[in-house]
Symmetry: C2
């Protein structure tokens, strides 16, 4: 497995394998869990060459967020990537990606002014910018992102379509712990008590799924239900529990078509997010 | 010469010639003059395949600007492109480039808050966005831009560097009429009297060149000199006459290194810009 710390070296690597077949990119911030590995395995199935980037992107963190303390373990990450059959890891330093005087940003409007965008101003600008850079550096045919970051996935899909980027974007279902907690590098922040409490996000989402299966279609009722469930958990502070139409994240008055049910909450030092996607047509057919 | 109105068709064309050698792109808004043709000729010299785009980009025009009345003559443009040996013209409609719900924009900060950016808010955002799209659609090895749009050229160079776009940007010197007026599609707006008056921009720039050759290095004095010259012309309303350091367009207190001397003014219906670049080291060597 090739390890590239500079833009020039990963470009050289990709150029050398370009003609062999499709190149897949898995952009990550490292500290791998099974969710990251699921992306790598899918890329391994579909692509001749798999590139993983590991870069804790400073510009997607707010000033009071956890950029400095975000968990890092490069040695373990490289070992896991090698085991997953990755061909090259791109692991640049911050100055390689944002040299002094850096000034260019990519903005996706509307899609970014709700959900996580409301409490994390500038977050999706940072995500869209770094993903644009990674696409231009690696020039992948296919890029893989987790559905756990649902809004991020929609923002990237929209950006790729709007800017005519020659990349196929693939979303991979969320990987969960046995008790339902969505895997996240930030779960490491949780104390044992918080770790137990954190499952309330998944339990609230499951309650929505059950209610919808029974015929409930009122987003206001369902949102209220989620809030009440989450608010019963004293170690968890709800940030949002909302339902939007996919793919444009427009508000909806009755559940139909593709729907995103998304929650975010603080639990100790961790900010946790989770979501489920529901297709009303496929439910109706049952 | 291939004429492509859709993104899919120009992509197919470029894919079919990709392996022959370098692809050059000349992005234009059409209504060709000798300045455009100079870009095409240079591309023809350096590239195996030359693609010209013709697209009057709505998002780089302000609401009170001349998007609707911007001069257009597609038949003549296609004839001139064919004569210049262009291989393909990409001439999309506005809905092909900005379908309903379009939401993604590229911003280059700092470089865009001065000169034309001050009187045309959003202009460079529109330019950076459409150039990003054109680069992603055509995937050129080299792209050609005129030095007449000096700030635009710096913005594009900065964007390409910051976002790691795999494109080489080449600037081509301004082409002038025999009396010095910089060629521009908007010169067609000028009445005969305005056309004569419009040369004052070039005359002011030439006066700066002469003063600098004689040893003047004070930007405040030189700016004032340009303003006085241009203000003597009643048919011309000065917008700015300014001097900045290249490449970052920072203000400077004494002329040194690479310097941009830039002017903008209204003349009848036309907004005219012009500039000269001076290299103080090469002057000093004389």
């Amino acid at each position: 497995m090739k390890i590239c710390q500079t833009i020039a070296s990963i470009r050289d690597f990709v150029r050398s394998v370009r003609n062999k077949g499709p190149v897949g990119l898995v952009p990550t911030m490292g500290y791998f869990h099974e969710g990251h590995l699921a992306l790598m395995r899918r890329a391994r199935q579909e692509c001749t060459t798999v590139v993983v980037s590991i870069f804790v992107n400073p510009i997607q963190f707010g000033p009071s967020e956890d950029y400095e303390t975000y968990p890092r373990n490069t040695e373990r990450d490289l070992h896991l990537a090698r085991e997953a059959g990755v061909d090259a890891v791109f692991i640049p330093g911050a100055a390689e990606m944002y040299p002094e005087g850096y000034a260019t940003y990519v903005d996706v409007e509307r899609l970014t002014d709700k959900l996580c965008g409301r409490s994390r101003p500038g977050h999706f600008r940072g995500v869209a910018t770094v993903v644009t850079k990674l696409f231009n550096i690696v020039n992948p045919d296919i890029a893989y992102f987790g559905e756990k970051d649902a809004q991020q996935l929609q923002v990237i899909r929209k950006m790729v379509r709007d800017l005519n980027m020659p990349v196929k974007v693939v979303g991979i279902p969320t990987v969960r712990e046995p008790d339902g907690l969505a895997m996240s590098s930030r779960n490491t922040y949780l104390s044992p008590g918080e770790r137990r409490a954190a499952t309330v996000l998944y339990r609230a989402l499951q309650q929505v799924c059950r209610a919808v299966a029974k015929g409930e279609r009122d987003p206001v009722y369902l949102q209220q239900m989620m809030k009440e469930i989450i608010n019963q958990e004293p170690l968890v502070q709800l940030e949002y529990a909302e339902i939007y139409q996919l793919p444009d994240l427009e508000p909806l008055s009755v559940l139909k078509g593709d729907v995103l049910v998304a929650v975010a909450a603080r639990c100790g030092r961790a900010r946790l997010i989770d979501n489920v996607r529901l297709n009303m047509e496929s439910l109706g057919e049952k």
